[in-house]
Symmetry: D2
Subunit: 303 residues, 4 copies
């Protein structure tokens, strides 16, 4: 009689839209000073990491999320040696960065040591030991505070933090002032990549606000997106640079760099790149109509 | 935006009826050789014990379930000294029995040592140390096998096992042959109480089949019921005896025995008893039309 | 693959408790000036009437709800001739009253003509033509306004209105002032019955507030309750009188009046009555601790 | 207290994955000889058409589904005059075809006259009167039977039928034999487009089986996909031809034909096309491993 099985995680997007994930196992949970962390297993998507009741990544398709976030920026940089990561507690962003043989140093700043600890223990397939790599400096702190207190320059900067909820400390990592700081910490020829919320015909405004905000401080930037099955949507990203347009490259460059660097990627290559960067007409048109810019000076509720 | 909160246990009664319990914490879970055990916390009902995705008891109202199961039989027996319990892994049935000062010995037989262990650890408010009482003999075994191999007689026998699912070993604890065995293990003046599935206008058949089956071997028996909020229904019980009618007693007997024995009960007393034993007309009428008897010789799928 | 079937009505009791009813057919729906009305069919419970997303009655068990509401008051009155009904749009309250041969006149006042029209059309098994009985005067109005403007006295008064939501006009049908008005409209020997919200170990406060409020103006009153499967709970009622205690009657009175009046009831008889009026100890104890009284002068949000 | 609202459509993809759509209105429903049709309104996605409890299209994003299905084939044909449509009951496929000024005749064959009638009445924004265009011949029949009984040739053939459930008559519109029939009905230079199930990293097999099957009879074919928010996934399509490769075209062709033909499209243009046809690496790799071909001779349960 029990067709429903038993336990379900229900993720609600709007008052009238929600998604149900059957849970075959609850693995771990913790209320940290910053958020509620839950780790659980689903039949189709495998292990799930939930922060504040939103899916952050799933074993089944985290390779899509993380390759899409990391690989365009890393491959469009000629020789990334020093990389900065904000957030990224799962360790999979580290894993993707460490694939590149030129990398000499990663500074990763995550505010929540509990998330990092839980991921180290329960998401081994995500980080695959990246936390133990001697090239990593892991800092438990606020990424903005850290960057304000340092003068180090980075070849690639990856922003891998959840979209901010109301009153969340993450809010100030989405402002013009923060992106100005990133611009200053970028080494010559550096590239920035951000996860940047849904980018679909149904949910567009937060992404466009982030896009506009980055565009206030950096001359070259592009939206792109990838379909993440466990997110039920197209996930948006932004790549940006100060000194050159990273999306202008001669045909074949990406595939040849993948080969030169010996990368074994599952999702990303040059054809994938072309698909991710080609936005449909409805989204290009609607993006033009959204003017919002996110500024420290405004009291934000949500992005 | 997240009205649904996060994790829910969904208990389905029929293809078109289900109940949702928000889970604020997953406490423990184990797939034992006999069943899937889950322990979790709900805001309203507190800690929940689930066996095979069915609620067995909830911290909020387990006192109703267990007092209703145990107290009528114990109080309608003049001086219960030896008690047999089949099932009862939570330990709350023990707790209710041990309230009676005359009790000298309890034999409890539960098939699943994992359930007992998990309950000892996580349901302390249920058992309140009853497992440590030296008067308890706890046997991990099949209750029917145990009783077949013993000749001991008991003043009170409590059957506290889940309703059987298809192919469940519990099936043979619901047959005429098993109840015949119980009759033989009953001391003179002994009383039997069974939890006996839903007893409501919507779900009646399994209870009545159990009632009929007990009625094949014991001359005195009564259905009664209690509303358990976390079960969303009236839960049915059966009290039965071989040598006298336990439901015929002079007014005031129950309340005076409660006082004599110094019992501090929350749910049960003589007025409660009268409410539990008075079945509405529709149920009394429909019960007459149900003829099913459960026999070892029939291959049963479900009761 | 589609175990969930398709459409579900989800009724939420608390942030962490909800109930799901599969809908095999949506029959009718209307947003009236007073509420949202939905009529739909469920496999187990048959046709459902929902007001503001709360189940009001179900074809499967409305006989329990309506017999429990109407029959104790009607049978404990010696010869009910004039009856007042507030609410009762389904028409099943009328049906139960008209069973009694002594009835000469019913005044029914419901505020929402759309509900009455939809029920007349789609709930024929509920009202069975009662709306066409010439003894009925149906008034579309506020019941309190109506009674304030009339001096007619009634033998039985039935209050069959939904529990009030925030800012609902029904709020002022739950106050001491309204019950005072009812007392004045009661003929000598008259009896009042009210539906009075959940009365279970889990949901008790609103019922007790209504009980206390009625008790401020009428000397004789009793809580009683019935399990309504489609409500997933014990539903509470209150019977009250000014001139005598309706719950004190000689044994056999109810059953003999049922026979004299030729009533063919499914749920209610004297044994059912005894079960309904015997409240368990935990509820009797907790009721003593709840002191709230509902008064016009307080700005209420919900009962 | 009622955060859930009220009625929900739950669409289940797998035993452990489902999607919930709040229903603010049930518009129409009918059990036809072929399927269960439901039309209802959701806050975010507007009007929904459900066949056998699967979303077929939503007011919010049907333009994506239908432009993606129709426009590549129509625009990559030089001058489409005669078009055949199998299925397409909503009428939006007709709407997209009729945009092209060269169209002289559409034959649309749908098996279910009830679907067509319900869509004509309730989905006016979908068809916008296309059913009344004198160039349309609407045939209520099985598309395969119809084509077997006709020798007419078509410039463009659009297959817009739901994925087949077990024992569905649609099954034989997914076989090698049916596609062979389509090839024979294709005029010189003709193009075929099919809706072809999910095409995502999570659900790939049915699409690939259809792709392989079409590939058995037509030399030129391509998978492409579009994200449809109300489907929660990337939806797959196949474009195929006998006489030329429709996906090989000189840059600018699509955009210039859109302009020449005066099409006002919301979703599709040349950049959109490039995004739809560029499949990510993981999907290209996994597609190679799937060998299934669908043949009349096999008794199929599901594609």
């Amino acid at each position: 009689m029990s067709y429903f099985g038993s336990r379900w995680f229900i993720e609600q997007d709007t008052p009238s839209i929600a998604h149900m994930f059957g849970l075959k196992r609850c693995v771990a949970e913790k209320k940290t000073p910053y958020q509620k962390v839950e780790i659980a297993d689903n039949e189709l998507f495998g292990r799930l990491l939930l922060l504040d009741s939103k899916i952050q990544s799933a074993a089944f398709d985290e390779y899509i999320y993380h390759e899409a976030l990391v690989q365009p920026a890393m491959l469009l940089h000629e020789q990334p040696r020093r990389v900065f990561v904000a957030g990224g507690g799962e360790g999979a962003t580290l894993r993707e960065i460490f694939r590149h043989p030129s990398v000499e140093r990663i500074v990763m700043v995550d505010i929540d040591s509990d998330v990092v600890e839980l991921c180290r223990e329960h998401l081994r397939e995500w980080h695959r030991g990246s936390f133990d790599d001697p090239r990593l400096e892991l800092v438990i702190s606020d990424a903005r505070d850290y960057l304000e207190g340092s003068e180090e320059l980075f070849d690639v900067i990856i922003i891998d933090i959840p979209e901010p909820l109301e009153n969340s400390p993450a809010l100030k990592l989405f402002t013009k002032q923060f992106y100005t700081l990133l611009r200053e910490r970028l080494a010559p020829g550096g590239v920035i990549a951000l996860q940047a919320d849904d980018l679909s015909s149904a949910f567009l405004e937060p992404h466009c606000a982030i896009f506009n905000t980055v565009g206030e401080v950096l001359p070259y930037l592009h939206s792109y997106r990838a379909f993440i099955p466990s997110f039920n949507t197209m996930w948006g990203y932004i790549i940006a640079a100060r000194d050159f347009d990273p999306a202008e490259f001669s045909a074949g460059l990406i595939d040849s760099r993948i080969e030169e660097r010996g990368l074994e990627l599952r999702f990303y290559d040059e054809e994938t790149h072309r698909g991710m960067f080609a936005l449909p007409r409805d989204i290009r048109e609607r993006r033009k109509t959204i003017k919002k810019v996110i500024d420290d000076g405004q009291l934000l509720t949500t992005v």
